[in-house]
């Protein structure tokens, strides 16, 4: 099974696929929140950022 997995991955990786960060099934999912809007998170404090970024804009906060 492991050999099949490794062979499959190498085959797909060789097809010029772009890396991405898949969500974990048991973790918080990306996307909007019913209260927090598009970003899915509520920024309660921010300092030293570009002026003019609207509230709720994606912040790029990495998953812990």
């Amino acid at each position: 099974m492991s050999l099949v997995l490794v062979a499959g991955i190498l085959l797909l990786a060789g097809c010029g696929m772009e890396p991405f960060d898949p969500p974990r099934p048991d973790e918080l999912q990306p996307g909007p929140g019913i209260l927090t809007g598009e970003s899915g998170e509520l920024v309660i404090y921010r300092r030293g950022q570009e002026e003019g970024r609207p509230d709720g804009a994606p912040t790029g906060t990495p998953d812990p």
Binding site: M17, D26, T36, Q49
Partner: protein
Amino acid sequence: MHGPQVAGIASARRFIPLQLLAGFSSLAENGVGSREAIMTNKAAFLGSMILGASVLVPAPVAAQTASDLRALIEAQAEQLAAQARQLEEQTRQPEAMRQRLDDLEAAEGTAEVAQVPFEGEPTEPPPAFEVVAPETPPAQTMPERVITSGQPEIEVAISGHINRMINVADDGDSTKTYFVDNGNSVSRVRLVGTGRIDETLSIGTAIELGIAPNPSFRVSQDNEDAGDFTDQRIVQAYVDSTRFGRLALGKGPMASDGAGLQDISGTSVIQYSAIADTAGGLQFVSDGDLTGISISDVFSNLNGSRRDRIRYDTPSLAGFSLATSFASNQRYDGAVYWAGRNDTWEATAAAAVQQPNIDDVDVRLVSSGSMLHRPTGLNATFNAGRDIRDGRDYSTLYGKLGVITELVSLGPTAFSVDYDWADDRPINSAAAITADGSSAGFAIVQDWTRYGTELYFGLRWHKAELRGGDDVDDILVSSFGTRVRF
């Protein structure tokens, strides 16, 4: 008159009447009848003309200023006209934006959302704000974006979700309804603080608290109210470098936590390889009696766990990343992750080796993968794991087939079926009882994208065969629930 005076007057014709008037006015004031008067008047006239000439000398300079003033006025007039045109264009923008909003609402929840053209911009989406080239004088230009502080960006954000579910379970002896928190992804709240030192380096803290009253993996026939369940899922600090990777210290996922959970089927909220999370506390029944052997005793996908540890992840290279962690009680592991996609395919895979420091387990292996054909939504997912033990190894194999469709405008609808085998799971070492398990399931998940909500239904059959134990009845569980991101 003297030549310079003539030249001065000729070069500034509009001043001539004034200068002549000044000269003749001198004659009038002194009289014109007598010779003396005439001579006096001549002198006065000439003095007046000389005085007038002295005044007329700057006349060409005055003419240039007027020309500049006229040019300036004309330039300002052109600028005002340009501003008027800009204002006129801007007054038309709200109507265009309303039209786009109507289009978006009409296409809500469909893949067309991102493709609704902006009026007058058929190929590219419109910018949120349009900055007009500064034709106006500098004092009237719009301010540009500026960095307000030289300090690093610091941000604290809160997020989380609620995941509640109703399980209706038939254990072969009775059917009961349980109101539970879905163990596939328990309700939680997360607080993350991030400090970006520069574009490549950041530090952060994360606290994630699971708040899951009556979790589905604890509720059982003789304990329908398992009570409050609070889990300190993540309490860690980390430093993250795009060049050197990520180092985390604290409680959180081990490197192998996730290696058994790769799943991009869209139904993982109610159906994934950890099948015991959905109703794992329910016990198998034999001859009407509870056996004390639960679903989670028979089935495990051997995924890693969360522990107090130190963990290092390499930067991603061509979608590959490596991770290793070391935890208390001499537990350690290593894992490799990969994820990639193009216009046609999306795929993830992972594999891990663990030293879980469990009695009789020498080493634990786990791997999983998931693949999605994006044009059709067809997808396949698998998990495989093995505990290499002193005695008989425990092994597990899981497979799922699914499809993600666009049936309604709310968002994607995902369907899937799965099957799980569990072989030789040790139940009671002293009594030499092991279990073989089989489980099959069906799931449907409706995503309500705009509101971060998923509605789901699942049906799962569990079968266990106890080696060295009694025969037990199958357990059938149907689940209804919702996960809402707030």
